[in-house]
Symmetry: none
Subunit: 411 residues, 2 copies
């Protein structure tokens, strides 16, 4: 069952406001089993709104619109809906009464422009607004049912859940199932290659990708004749994706990599410390984004200057002179120092050149050394060359440090 989302407002087409409503409504519609075929955003312009409604009604059984229902002169949605549906605007007395009561309760005077909010297309299916003044409504445009709600997010969400859902749900048969696999460690192109042929081997299954750097989500979506046939298709496809991507898959649903690493530490009752240089605190910030991380996170020594590396972590002047701060030797000494000073079970260090300046022929921008120190044996370091700008290099380096923490914790 096709659906479309229409957002109305010049503040949106001018880019003064990010449209968060469209994503929320689309997620709800998808959850109800609809296929959202389009979002459209138009300015506060009578003809354009009406044209958009006619357009979308040709492609979608349901159109869910927000915005332009308020009392000001640029609120034209009801008029446009009347135009597109071929019905005159008439004053809806129960809605006017509700508006009057809300104004009285707030001690405000009911003005003519406020009363206009009760003017709706004749025969409209009125959707009460429990959180605000302007009522919503539903009308038919061609073969399509169009719903109109306020742009104020709180009012819209309540109206959708309280009134729109039960007007859509009975018509929609759920025929799809989706599993979201979370991955880290493979570039997007490599993920695509490893999964080549999965769709062909599993008819009715499509794969989708979403990169939220540096994590990549693989969505496995199965369409069937009904709910259970979709479920039966999705499970073996998920298994195959997991097998092909190996340990790059760290979870399902909405889990993040820092949360995954945190759970490993918590399960094993291990503590961690970091020594950061080029990441400047980003690795510590990622780990401590997770509520309750104080159970396993002890310290991140962000030793940006050489003197701080010496004073806080005990990296010797001789070492810094001989090898430089961006070196395997320095990374290992930083990891050892962080573990010693914090008493953590595991410590990981990061030192590198995030750019744009500071690179050399021998150590170009993107050169990063990581090291790990634990209970057994000496610290072990590794050299990486990371690509991208300062932000990408720092982010990837911080994630690689988290992976090193996880690997050390898993033994």
């Amino acid at each position: 069952m096709n659906a479309a989302v229409l957002s109305i407002g010049t503040e949106l087409t001018r880019g003064e406001l990010i449209d968060r409503n469209a994503a929320w409504i689309s997620e709800r519609l998808t959850g109800l089993g609809c296929v959202v075929v389009e979002h459209m955003t138009v300015p506060d312009d009578l003809e354009r709104i009406a044209a958009a409604l006619r357009d979308l009604s040709r492609r979608a059984r349901f159109v869910v619109a927000t915005g332009g229902l308020g009392p000001t002169s640029d609120d034209l949605t009801s008029e446009a809906a009347a135009l597109a549906s071929g019905k005159p605007l008439v004053r809806h007395e129960p809605s006017l009464e509700a508006i009057r009561e809300r104004y009285a309760a707030a001690g405000r005077e009911l003005t003519p422009s406020s009363m206009v909010q009760a003017d709706l297309p004749q025969g409209a299916d009125v959707l009460p607004n429990s959180a605000g003044t302007a009522p919503g409504f539903g009308v038919a445009v061609g073969e399509s049912r169009c719903f109109f709600m306020p742009g104020v997010t709180l009012e819209m969400k309540r109206m959708f859940d309280d009134h729109v859902v039960r007007r859509i749900a009975p018509e929609v048969e759920r025929t799809s199932q989706q599993v979201r696999l979370r991955t880290f460690g493979l570039p997007e192109s490599r993920v695509g290659e490893l999964l080549e042929g999965v769709e062909a081997a599993h008819p009715g299954v499509t794969l989708g990708y979403r990169a939220s750097f540096p994590e990549i989500e693989v969505k496995v979506l199965a369409e069937g004749d009904d709910d259970s046939s979709a479920s039966a298709k999705v499970a073996p496809a998920v298994e195959e994706v997991r097998r092909r991507l190996g340990d790059a898959v760290f979870g399902e649903g909405t889990t993040t990599y820092p949360a995954y690493v945190g759970r490993i530490l918590r399960d094993r009752r291990l503590t961690v410390a970091l020594a950061e240089s080029c990441t400047g605190g980003l690795a510590g910030s990622l780990i401590t984004d997770v509520p309750g991380s104080s159970d396993y996170m002890l310290l991140s020594a962000v030793t940006y200057s050489n003197a701080a590396k010496t004073a806080v972590l005990g990296v010797s002047d001789e070492l810094l002179r001989a090898y430089g701060a961006v070196s395997l030797e320095c990374a290992e000494a930083m990891a050892v120092g962080a573990r010693r000073i914090s008493g953590a079970d595991i410590s990981v260090s990061i030192t590198g050149i995030a750019g744009p300046g500071g690179g050399s022929e021998d150590k170009p921008v993107g050169t990063v050394f990581l090291a790990v120190a634990g209970a057994e044996g000496p610290a072990r370091g590794e050299r990486f060359h990371l690509s991208g700008d300062r932000r990408r290099i720092r982010t990837r380096a911080a994630y690689l440090a988290l992976r090193l923490v996880a690997q050390a914790a898993l033994g």
Copy 2:
């Protein structure tokens, strides 16, 4: 001159991702003097993308599209652009060479699926990607010029500013002027109150707001008959906004608060150290986001555990027992310790309860203590109560620490 924005991706129509690109592009297009008449979002579907292009090309002189240029099987934008423009897809050798170089620099093997990113409509106007792999391009569809860019925000923004702007600007007669004032420290509702009446006092000027938590941008837009009449209107309005908002305005254009603070430190040849607890490295990460920050940033001691506060910063056991880690006394001792160990001119500390757990009646979630230590006098601390979830509390606390750095540096 009409323009339209097309966003491509099933993750958008399913509502899994909020479309922030469309607002950013619209703002830029509006700034160039275009009238954005529509946003459209379609799924990764060849026919729908092509139909959207044909549709939008009837209404807009410029169509700016993002998404679907990557290497995976659901990236169909180039093919759809070829279809809509009536040109065959051909391999663009210089782009292939650029992709090859990028892969080689990253030490990755160039695979067939990655090479597909160099397949562009014949005769396309290629837009190099300085921040990623997939090139963008421009093609004609009917009377419209369509530009295609990656959906990855960083790559898109650079490509737009470096290549698309100068392809659009010469065709647009500029009749508006916009100045973006960057602010930190006032809530959005307070900014609105302080600026009440500015529009009425300056006919032809409109104010817009965009919150990018915790920074708020105030846009002053003046429309005139031509460029110079718009300029003449915008200047006095900007002056009035600056006067009303006082030192909450820290810059114009695209400058960020960490860059502003960094410039103050650099101009005064001052160095800084941090001692962080609840922010977990976020404050250090913000400061070191700025290229060249190693000139003034020496250390951030992220002492998450009490033992680390003692071992690294010398906060005494007695103090921690008497007042707790979340206290004015601890904040002051942390600031003193960070300054002593790093030798920095200024040090700032942060300790608090970011939640969701850990609050008490006396110190509820959102309680944060900041302290600053400098060359003169003892450390001085301050207590804050911040609202919102864990992420907002941490972000605001980190920004308040940056403000304390700036205030100390300015004397």
